[in-house]
Symmetry: C2
Subunit: 305 residues, 2 copies
């Protein structure tokens, strides 16, 4: 057995979906080329963009920062980064420290913003409330508003998140199963801004399977926070993730076929279910919101904060 | 515990998705009302229709025949039935005998058409060929052409199949996962004819979960063929069926939410991916076909028949 690309006998990976066997250098190269291909195909970057990376310190966001930094080194874009501290004891601090070290190493401006400072309550405190709605609902909404606000304050033109192929396919299937048409229209490689104040979001790793990102950070010797969130197992997403990986064993191209199918359907959704984004403001925080209160403020009110 | 509808203490079913507890009569009634509701909502029947029921003798097709017969008794529609004998030893004959007895009992014209007589090869013979493509591919295509032809010969205006909620949701999810946009547009309660010679297909049981149909035939004391096809376990559909039922345990409305989501998306597909049906004919059999040979004749040629 030798590398399909260069003949090196020290192989580190067999790509199930393509059948390719790769050595370390060719594997690293293949991931970076594929991410760049996604960026070009989906027009994720324009020259002069200032991209804010949502940097948790985990493998996905560190890989996003690392590959986008090659565009910064070539003076195509500028970069900055934000880490949200949700307030999860024995979990978040390690990620913050790792994020800080990467930003410092690359010389990229970096902010840490805590949910407790921003909204007066931490995720651990939320999870102690009776009748809470599950960690992921709160975490998703609060992280989104915090990152959006930071992007505005740092004058970013794009927000890059570390969503990988597995994340994207899970979201697609969850929304298919829930019949959630509105959310289905919002997925994809690039989310157009819904209101002037919301920065466009991009997902450069959208076509890279999670396990390949795990291997990429090991191959590149990048320090990452490998622990998983203590609240993650409670979610519907966890169930769907397990199911997709179980199907993937017999059908190694199933994640890609689901993604390609969704990408073909998406323009049809968007024509049929075109949403007029409201110019209304949340009465409490002033952010764009189609209802009287935005989702974050609705949650905060329910939580009595 | 007593029946949610009439108070009868002899309950036979708890409907997970609605929380209703039902006695035998109210359960039977609820199924029949729901099927009639689907027929009305989706406009599946017109007065004067002659409906051909694809009658395998299994629970789904027997239930379809039984409920459509109430429309025949009220002189709204006329009925006939066809059973396809695929040629599966130790399996099909029992279904044929049961189908015959139901047709006789209700006084409905009934034909049995065998794959061997029609195309010169049985499914058992196909499955002995090296490099066959899996039983379900052949069975689906050949049954479809046989039933279409029979509908024409019997002057039927609609073909009713026994597809239940589980069948429909499996098909939807399989096509989502395979990214098969063309097939996705063809699902739904009523399949418009793709060419003049193809009769419109309707699925009256599309909103009834499989297990409720199983219970319906027991409650109504209807004789049905309960064995499952010996080839069924080899299929991707089997895998998907297992997964959906596994999800259904924690999310008892998931089949309905998937169906409702699909129904909302379908008009968008059909606008975006409108197919012009070709007026071409298969060179071999003369049936409508967009390619030189129709799918059935392509298979027959590959099989050397």
């Amino acid at each position: 057995m030798e590398c399909s690309k260069c003949g090196n006998p020290q192989i580190i990976y067999k790509q199930e979906q393509s059948g390719q066997i790769l050595c370390k250098d060719c594997f690293i190269n293949s991931i970076e080329k594929k991410v760049i291909k996604t960026i070009k195909k989906e027009k994720l970057l324009n020259k002069g963009d200032k991209v804010l990376v949502a940097l948790s310190g985990g493998k996905d966001s560190v890989t996003t920062l690392e590959i986008l930094n090659t565009f910064r080194e070539r003076n195509i874009i500028d970069l900055c980064a934000v880490t949200v501290d949700e307030g999860i004891a024995n979990y978040r601090q390690e990620g913050i420290d790792i994020a800080k070290r990467h930003a410092q190493r690359l010389g990229i401006p970096h902010k840490v913003i805590s949910l407790k400072d921003e909204h007066g309550i931490s995720l651990d405190e939320i999870m102690k409330k009776p009748n809470h709605k599950g960690s992921c609902s709160y975490c998703g909404v609060f992280r989104r508003t915090i990152i959006n606000k930071a992007a505005r304050e740092m004058n970013a033109t794009k927000i890059a998140t570390g969503h990988n192929l597995d994340d994207e396919v899970q979201a697609i299937i969850m929304n298919y199963l829930e019949g959630n048409i509105n959310n289905l229209g919002k997925l994809g490689a690039k989310t157009e801004s819904q209101a002037e104040e919301f920065t466009i979001k991009i997902k450069p790793l959208r076509e890279i399977p999670e396990r390949e990102i795990g291997l990429y950070v090991v191959a590149k010797d990048l320090e990452v926070h490998f622990n998983s969130c203590p609240y993650a197992t409670q979610s519907f997403r966890g169930e769907i993730s397990e199911i997709i990986n179980q199907l993937n064993e017999n059908h190694p191209t199933i994640k890609y076929s689901t993604l390609r199918g969704y990408d073909k359907i998406k323009p049809a959704f968007n024509k049929e279910f075109k949403q007029e984004y409201s110019k209304n403001r949340c009465k409490r925080c002033g952010e764009p919101s189609s209802n009287e209160l935005c989702k974050a403020c609705t949650f905060l009110k329910e939580l009595g904060v």
